[in-house]
Point group: D2
Chain length 393, copies 4
Amino acid sequence: MDVVARTRAFVDDELIPLEPDLLSKGWVAMLPTLRGKRDEAKKRGLWAPFLPQEHGGLGLTLLEYAHVSEVLGRGLLAHWVLNCQAPDVGNMELLIAHGTDAQKKQFLEPLTRGEIRSCFGMTEPEHAGSNPVWMSTRARREGDQLVIDGHKWFTTGADGASFCIVMAVTDPEAPLHGRASQIIVPTDTPGFRIVRNISVMGEPGADHPSHSEIRLENVRVPATNMLGPQGAGFALAQERLGPGRIHHCMRWIGICERAFELMVTRAATRELSPGKPLGTQQQIQLWIAESRAEIHAARLMVIDCAERIDRVGAHGARDYVSMIKFHVASVLQQVLDRAIQVHGALGMTDDTPLAYWYRHERAARIYDGPDEVHKASVAKRILQAHGMTARKD
Amino acid sequence: MDVVARTRAFVDDELIPLEPDLLSKGWVAMLPTLRGKRDEAKKRGLWAPFLPQEHGGLGLTLLEYAHVSEVLGRGLLAHWVLNCQAPDVGNMELLIAHGTDAQKKQFLEPLTRGEIRSCFGMTEPEHAGSNPVWMSTRARREGDQLVIDGHKWFTTGADGASFCIVMAVTDPEAPLHGRASQIIVPTDTPGFRIVRNISVMGEPGADHPSHSEIRLENVRVPATNMLGPQGAGFALAQERLGPGRIHHCMRWIGICERAFELMVTRAATRELSPGKPLGTQQQIQLWIAESRAEIHAARLMVIDCAERIDRVGAHGARDYVSMIKFHVASVLQQVLDRAIQVHGALGMTDDTPLAYWYRHERAARIYDGPDEVHKASVAKRILQAHGMTARKD
Amino acid sequence: MDVVARTRAFVDDELIPLEPDLLSKGWVAMLPTLRGKRDEAKKRGLWAPFLPQEHGGLGLTLLEYAHVSEVLGRGLLAHWVLNCQAPDVGNMELLIAHGTDAQKKQFLEPLTRGEIRSCFGMTEPEHAGSNPVWMSTRARREGDQLVIDGHKWFTTGADGASFCIVMAVTDPEAPLHGRASQIIVPTDTPGFRIVRNISVMGEPGADHPSHSEIRLENVRVPATNMLGPQGAGFALAQERLGPGRIHHCMRWIGICERAFELMVTRAATRELSPGKPLGTQQQIQLWIAESRAEIHAARLMVIDCAERIDRVGAHGARDYVSMIKFHVASVLQQVLDRAIQVHGALGMTDDTPLAYWYRHERAARIYDGPDEVHKASVAKRILQAHGMTARKD
Amino acid sequence: MDVVARTRAFVDDELIPLEPDLLSKGWVAMLPTLRGKRDEAKKRGLWAPFLPQEHGGLGLTLLEYAHVSEVLGRGLLAHWVLNCQAPDVGNMELLIAHGTDAQKKQFLEPLTRGEIRSCFGMTEPEHAGSNPVWMSTRARREGDQLVIDGHKWFTTGADGASFCIVMAVTDPEAPLHGRASQIIVPTDTPGFRIVRNISVMGEPGADHPSHSEIRLENVRVPATNMLGPQGAGFALAQERLGPGRIHHCMRWIGICERAFELMVTRAATRELSPGKPLGTQQQIQLWIAESRAEIHAARLMVIDCAERIDRVGAHGARDYVSMIKFHVASVLQQVLDRAIQVHGALGMTDDTPLAYWYRHERAARIYDGPDEVHKASVAKRILQAHGMTARKD
């Protein structure tokens, strides 16, 4: 696909060269430059590849986007520059599918144009993220207002966001999966307070790359800010997370490829003694071959899964989504670990992007459902298909 | 593909039910029954799917055969019953590509019809199999005869074979890869002697499932028994082994699928206590999910590799062949290990085929090039493509 | 300790040289020779090192015996020749601790002298071995007789045994752990029937190295054949299995050491090309170093555990017993796998003992409690000590 | 040992409570508080446990210190507070063993009292650290001065250090291992320049916890600043690194224990749903049991190694040092990875010390010799002891 090649050229020529600055000066200092790159991306016709064309994007299928997203994953900055960053992508998809016209006008349009940012408030510090239906944040109706009280954390990108889609229990007596709703909360609403940006793997966090702890105290928004039907919060969250997971996997393949290139280049050129590069060591060769095979297999799985989702939808392909979620995350971690080991002390430094990924992508096995949860859910469906029934206890 | 479904029905209905007899009575006792199944396979139009139609086969592409071979791999007997067993397949391919008309008439035709069996004498006990150009067996020309002296082992299926294709050094002074030739030796030639069937993983071996140690002492065959040009032995062996490796991988996927089914069925039905099957245990669930993902990825790799070979040939796809060789072998071993653990003591017995595969497919990481050799060769090509040159030392 | 050195000399000089015969001719053919070696062992003062001196043994502490058992583990025949073989050891220990004088005279004494063999009938094909209190075999009192009906399998060494200690439910209404009793059943009692020796990893089994399926149909023995108090069957089985597990671990360390020696010797001497042994390959070096470290750590754990048992008893050290059970079994399997890979095709053959151990010690992760059960029980005690309580469900 | 218990109380009561401040405010902000804790440590008689009593320490044997160091490893601050931090420990040991009286007075004494800090300049960016004899820094004699030119990096703690022990080639024509010498360079010497503190895993570094890149340009020091004999640099570095490695291993055991406690406490208390803590999940139980067994084995190895060094010296125990270096580093990484996974998103944050260790102890498999180097050197000695000789090529 031409768009893949053009995106790759943009990433390699325009964005990867900015990474040393990013790693030494931090995200906020890069913002002016990055905004210029966004303009350039729009000019080149690369903006928002996953978005339908009527919303200003390229309207790619998931399979097509998979190839683009892999290329974006090679760089630390590319998803943001093309407006493909989490959690905004998921929020745009939610608003497109379930937003009212007014919601779309107010919240979606500036988001698709990259004028504002948004966040998604789901995880709560008091409850295990792997049990998404256990939630303490409450929203009650008062007149034509919704009044929200709650406590969230790991609200990615809340710092500087214009609005937050908040998951809150609106129907505490409903069946477990029908209790929560999604409510759009402008972040300047009184009572919406960022307690702190949580320091993650040594990174205090600011602006887009940040994870906030948030208190909602008597937060009042118009009842029309409810996104989708009341009680549909959990269903919408699932709908949002399903494709979100494959987006991560695509990105991870890109990280794997870049880490692989760094590893091989280092092995081919770093000398152990004059004329004897690292790559002559059999251990290094084993890591290169195993990584090549594992990345190849992982990519085939992701491509296969994207095709399936295009064909049968995210729900029909949910086992394949779960499988790539845990399988690719594991390959990613292996490849990064080996790439660092091949770099030796240099691999520990922020002179390459490896250490950044090593730190932050440790979460790949945790966010959007830890490995254990995905594995158990795949297995349970297989076991049921083989006739397992168990005593309820 | 219709042929896949029909082959699967044949394997499931006709061959898998014979396995308990095989595992308790042994191969030789099964032969009359198995010959009847061969007739049935011919009648059903399933015979020799990989062979060109002019040689009595189905003329499938490698990609088509990949799907058939996976189905065959599910059973212990299916490859043999459809005349797809190693080493005869490789020998047929060699004779088709390089045999003279006389050689084809004498050796190939009865082989394609399943009337005789053959073997391939390459490995020598004195030399590491991973260095295929180091060989002591010698053949010298005397008049219109070739006189062979040497020592081979792991000559699969030699017991009962009608001929052996023997690798022997004919040009000891030639460059390393041009020293050996392949010579067809009828096994009743004086001086060709099976020293013993080597006991492998507790199995003494007899007839087709056997691995022999062989002495060749002053063995004389007509010079016209040379297969292909003199000095081409190594090149032909490579040509033979390349697709041979993907044949193994296809079969391994079939074994994985069958082992997976056994594992899941056991987990779904075996109770730890009344009403609480094994499959309720999270450890079992993890194994099931990880196995499912690994088999899925491995199959995608094998299919992808078969497509590549069909498109660019085995040489052009050699890195992909090497990658599936070590990657799928590793998945196979993992899946078998987990399937046995889920079966508990039953997994150790010969009441299921798991123990058979566990024992004999341990060799999957050894035969046709040990993992280490394939990994190193993949890595070296990647490193060279990234500019590595090393001091010769 | 002098006894360790003398035992090692006996194993190395007298027993290991018999292994090729064992591996090619089978156990039964070796029996006359092995009986001669038993006489020699008695003459050298090495007989039954674990037995108290009043029963004809050496009376070693568990720590002392740990060192001896490791040395025995190096050979395939040594435990039997010194009368240290399972399941007789456990039965002797049971009879010493709980037998009546009459039971000791009739069953224990000929066993300690090696004149008869015995077996232990616990596992049932219908019930998961990992739930030892779920059992269908029943014994009812009729007058001064016990009448037993049941179905057992994996009764090791039943073929040729003089008696079997049978676990049977005598008090079906008692609390779960108090339902079963242990009953000594002479194997010539009418109704005690060996259905078959179960073929295990390709080995049909005969005499001592065998695992039988057994039917007990209206088997009548004197009520005085009950071993220990009625209802104490489970408690006695635990008492028997605890030290039994450390016996296995000691033996496994011995297997590891022997496999390590075979691996290193092969690596040091097998040439890949003239003048370049396998051991020059870094992959081989990594395996050697990792194996050395893992065996070293495993041995330290076993020694530490033996000391603890000598000091505080098997119950007090039960977490340490569980930890060595799963940890050493895992090291064993790793080391055997690597040793086979270093041997290449030779590793698959029965020309070395590696394939024998690879096959039969796969069960190390299953028998006497699968890994999963031991891990869960260790973890649960740790979690409880950290205050975990869980809703009963 | 009483000192272990008293040290543990000090670490738990005085230092661990400071960690949240450290993780949110950084090292430099903590310095005033930490200096107060140093006074307290001296008052309690815990200062410098490894130092001989004549130098103000406790004069512990290595075995005794192993137990103390493990306890120190439980906290992020304890080694520094007790003056046990790298690289100062190694420098003190070097100066004690090889320093002249004048060197001891000027450099050692203030170091043992904790008044100054020091660093060790060995690694060079241009050369692989795993080949310690390949070095470009040069020192030439001019009159009674040594003139040094070179480029170093990963000079730990250079920022704020009073002197640096610099490895430099003084005899470029000598045999490989006799070319370098160690030279004490006060950091205020003209030409000694810190180019930057290298950002490591997201941490820019400052003061003691920092790793600097350093240029030495025409740096002149008195010839009397040479430490030990000319040409002995490499031998002294080895002498320094040997025990240094066991110091790391002791510390890692302490980290493992603390991470284990955090993991178990989290599992025991964090609820997945009301009344159902994480620890009820079998996957969590498996991680706990495996971690317990691995840490137990690793500690036994470290203790065993310390005993051996006390008995036969670091050189005689070098294989055991190498084995713990790679084995314990691997256990450490496993345990930290599991502890993070059990903590979920919290494990990614700097609200616990886990993320700090995860990031910085990734280097455990790299510094003081990467795993691969230690494994190869252990294996080569074993192979040589088994008679391996290889063609020099």
